[in-house]
Amino acid sequence: MELHEEKLKFLEETAVKIREAVIEMLVEAGSGHSAGPLGMADVFTAFYFHILNHDPKRPDWPERDRLILSNGHICPVRYAAMAYAGYFPIAELKTLRKINSRLQGHPHRTSLPGVETTSGPLGSGLSQAIGVALAAKLDKAKYRVYCFVSDGEHDEGNFWEAVMFAGKNKISNLTMLVDRNNIQIDGFTENVMPLEPLREKYRSFGWNVLEIDGHSFEAIVDAVNEAKAIYEKPTVIVAHTIPGKGVSFMERDYLWHGKPPTKEEAAVALKELRTLQGKIESEHQ
């Protein structure tokens, strides 16, 4: 599962397409979250286009790896990655949050094949992932369970109940990735409810802890491989991400956590994405 130059370039280009799709979806929907989906675009790209053992044409394939998204509000990036991976037509992305759409504002398992769990209310994804991982162990199945969580949802009691359970029961077929972007709706996480020292918290609960740059494809892939080799503990990958990544006026600003861009803002954002914030001349222009 090495990353060669060509694959790396493909992933980078795909992540840009996914970010563009996120902006287009949000402006079309007129509501939704901007910062989180953009911040996690590289992680989702790495998983859907390199890491996951999956088949977009058979979303119910029993041996597929399970990707469970706990912080359901960033689902636009998941939908975009799924569409580009071939789960459903890219044109369908424009139906996000609209009536009769399979793309619910927060993901609903039985609405869209390939969405593993229903989520939105925070703090409950990890324990669902544990349940799936326990089922895999009972069935002696080989698939791996991945769970993406946000840093803000660490405030929930249910979340720490799950952290304790996974540590005690050594759920090693489960890897969790924390989107450590330091923001939540009401402000910076360390002001709203401090999480640090996060690494030490996980260690004391019996987890293997890795910390990476969540925008480095090499780092994401290496960390996932390392987690697979650890059998005695569950692994958490603390992925440092920049909320709003790729759109300068959204980056690191918690005010962009829960709102979509206007049409004008979207035009600026799309131009930035297409020119990599002015670093290249866009082929679209």
């Binding site: 469970i68 609903h108 398992r109 039985t110 593993e116 769990t117 229903t118 989520s119 939105g120 209310p121 703090g123 409950s124 324990s127 669902q128 992932a129 544990i130 349940g131 799936v132 991982a133 326990l134 089922a135 895999a136 009972l138 069935d139 009691g157 249910n158 109940e161 799950a162 304790m164 359970f165």
Partner: protein, 330 residues
Amino acid sequence: MLNPEAKLNPNIFSADLEQKPVRDGYGDGLILAGEKDPNVVVLCADLTESTRSEVFARRFPERFFETGVAEQNMATIAAGLGISGKVPFISSYATFSPGRNWEQIRTTIAYNDSNVKIAGHHSGISVGPDGATHQALEDIATMRVMANVKVFVPCDAVQAKKATLAAAQIWGPVYIRFAREKTPVITTNETPYAPGKAEVFWESKKPEVAIIACGPLVYQALLAARELEREGTGSIVLNNHTVKPMDEAKVVEMARRCGAVVTVEEHQVMGGMGSAVAEVLTKKCPAPMEFVGMHDRYGESGKPLELIEKYGMGVKDIKAAALKVIKRKK
């Protein structure tokens, strides 16, 4: 007289009638379900003995998961198991599960369509000395209001065993309500039982009122019916063990035949089984109704029967409600 077709316990009105906690039926039912289906798993939140989950844990240790005092985690882990081919039963006191973890049940089990069975123990005021914190009086309402959830309220340990097994064999979320104290064993293995099919347990020759009950208070309803008959008032007692989906045809038939209805439950009358009956009858066969249950207040510590009397759910209260509702008939 007792309906012979219900094949009830022949000693039902004798002094040495066998008494057994409804929750015992949970343990017995789990063993049956576990033997029939290797995908049945059980989770418990630090109440293994009390909820009778320990019977299953001893028999199938690899299929039992202890979550500690963490009902939200228990529900959500079960949600993950239930979408992965397992048939999880989650076990705790009803005030905590589905009390504390209601939203997790809503989002990750009911809306998520995960095949989880929720066992709420220590329901009703008959929990007794533990007091109001542990007496679940709202769980029928909070579960039946949730789309995609079925609600079973077995009347005794024998029916609880059947209900537990039936829940394992039905696809989708089911809530089953269990009581703590020893209560009369009303039914037998031969008593007909099917989810969604209410059973007539008592039928007088000329019934003037239908007493529709669920849970262990079905026994009080039968005692009331027997006394009423001796005193010249005929009635029918219906064991309405499935609150959702309710046996609407049977409930309507009873209301039509008797022209008046009393509902009996160890639960708040707001939103409970009686409310569910009223929802059906208002639409299909309006009839005067009286509601025996908790009336918008909390319980307290005490002996189970003392509490049932004090809070107006005893035999005399059911009789009074029956006579009152008959008078309201036009």
